[in-house]
Symmetry: C2
Subunit: 180 residues, 2 copies
DNA sequence: GTCTATAAGTGGATAGAC
DNA sequence: GTCTATCCACTTATAGAC
C-alpha cells in the first residue's frame, strides 16, 4: 500500500476516534508508519489531510446509507431498516461526532462534506416519512436524524451501548412501525 | 469578584464553547484576567478546573430542568414544556457537547457529573412519559433525550438554528401532544 | 517520493519573589 | 493569594539530503 493511502487511512481512523482538533500530525505519522516529509509532500497542511479524511468518511457513510435505502422497497421498511441498523454506539457517528470540534467550526471546507451528508439523508428520509401519512413530515424527518445522533451522545455519556438502540426503538414505537 | 470565581466562570464559558481538550490554561487566564500562579494556587491541574467547571455547568442545568418540570403539573404539560423550551441550538448543550471530547473519555471524574445529569433527566421524564399511556416507556424516554441532543448536533452541522426546533416539534407530533 | 533534522510557537506545569 | 519568570514536551511546519 502506498504512503498516501496509508496516511489517509490513518487520518480517517484518528479523526473518527479523536476528532480533528485532538489529532496531531505525529499521531498520523505513528499510525501510518511513514516519515514526516511524506505527510507534507502528499498533504500541504493539517487542514488538507483533515479535509481528505472527512471527505472519505462522508463518502463511505453515504454509500452505506444509499445501499440500505435501496435494499428496501417501501417507506416503512426503509425507516425500520434505518432505525434498527447495527451501529457502533460507543464509538460515535463518524460524521456527527465532529459537530463540536473547534477546528470544524473554524473551517467551512471541513464542515461542507458533513453538511452535505445530512442533507442527502434528509432527502432519503422525506419520501419514506411522507408515505407513512404522518403529520409534519419535515419535523419527523429531523427527529429521525436527531434520535440517531443523540442516541450516540447519550450512549457515550452514559457508557451504555444500549441507549442508542433503546432510543431508536422508542421512536419506531411512536411511528407505529412494529419490529420486524 | 475574587480570583477563584473569575477563573471558574472563565473555565465554564470556555468548556461550553470549546470543550476540555481544546481549552488551554492560557485561555482561562486570558479570559479571567488573573495571573498564572493564581490558577495553580486554586486548582492544582487542568483536570481540577475542568472538573469544577463541568460540575458547575451540570448543577446549573439540573436546577433549570428541575424548575421547568416543577412548574408544570401534568406529564403532558411537562413533556410539551421540555420539548418547546428555547435552546441555544448553535452553541450546543453545555453537557452533551462534551460527549466526544477525548479528555472526557480519559477521565471518569469528568464524565460523572454529566452522566448523573442524564440519569436525573430520565427519572424526571419517565413518569411523564408513563402517564401518556404510550408503549415502551423506557424507549420513548431515551428518544426524548436523544432528539434534543441530536437536534443540537444537526443544527450545528447544518448551521441551521431551526433544525433543533423542527426535531422537537416532530417528536411532539409523534407523541400526539398538540402545541400549546 | 521518502527520509531526518530542525525551527518557532504553544501546552501544561513549577519556582520563587512580593 | 497573586504575580512574573521559566521549564520541558509537543504541535505544526520547513529545510534539505538521498
Amino acid at each position: 500500500m502506498d504512503a498516501r493511502t496509508r496516511l489517509l487511512d490513518a487520518a480517517k481512523q484518528l479523526v473518527w476516534d479523536r476528532g480533528v482538533e485532538a489529532t496531531s500530525p505525529n499521531m498520523v505519522l505513528a499510525r501510518s508508519g511513514v516519515g514526516q516529509g511524506s505527510l507534507y509532500h502528499h498533504f500541504g497542511s493539517k487542514a488538507a489531510w483533515a479535509e481528505a479524511a472527512i471527505t472519505a468518511l462522508a463518502a463511505d457513510l453515504t454509500a452505506e446509507t444509499d445501499e440500505l435505502f435501496s435494499a428496501h422497497p417501501t417507506g416503512v421498511e426503509q425507516l425500520r431498516a434505518y432505525l434498527t441498523r447495527p451501529r457502533p454506539a460507543l464509538d460515535g457517528c463518524r460524521l456527527g461526532r465532529l459537530a463540536f470540534d473547534p477546528e470544524i467550526r473554524a473551517d467551512d471546507a471541513l464542515r461542507a462534506p458533513i453538511s452535505a451528508y445530512f442533507e442527502h439523508l434528509r432527502a432519503l428520509l422525506r419520501p419514506a416519512v411522507h408515505a407513512t401519512g404522518v403529520d409534519d413530515t419535515d419535523g419527523v424527518v429531523e427527529a429521525i436524524c436527531a434520535v440517531v445522533q443523540g442516541g450516540y451522545v447519550t450512549s457515550r455519556l452514559s457508557d451504555d451501548p444500549d441507549a442508542l438502540d433503546r432510543a431508536c426503538r422508542g421512536l419506531l414505537t411512536l411511528l407505529g412501525i412494529p419490529p420486524h
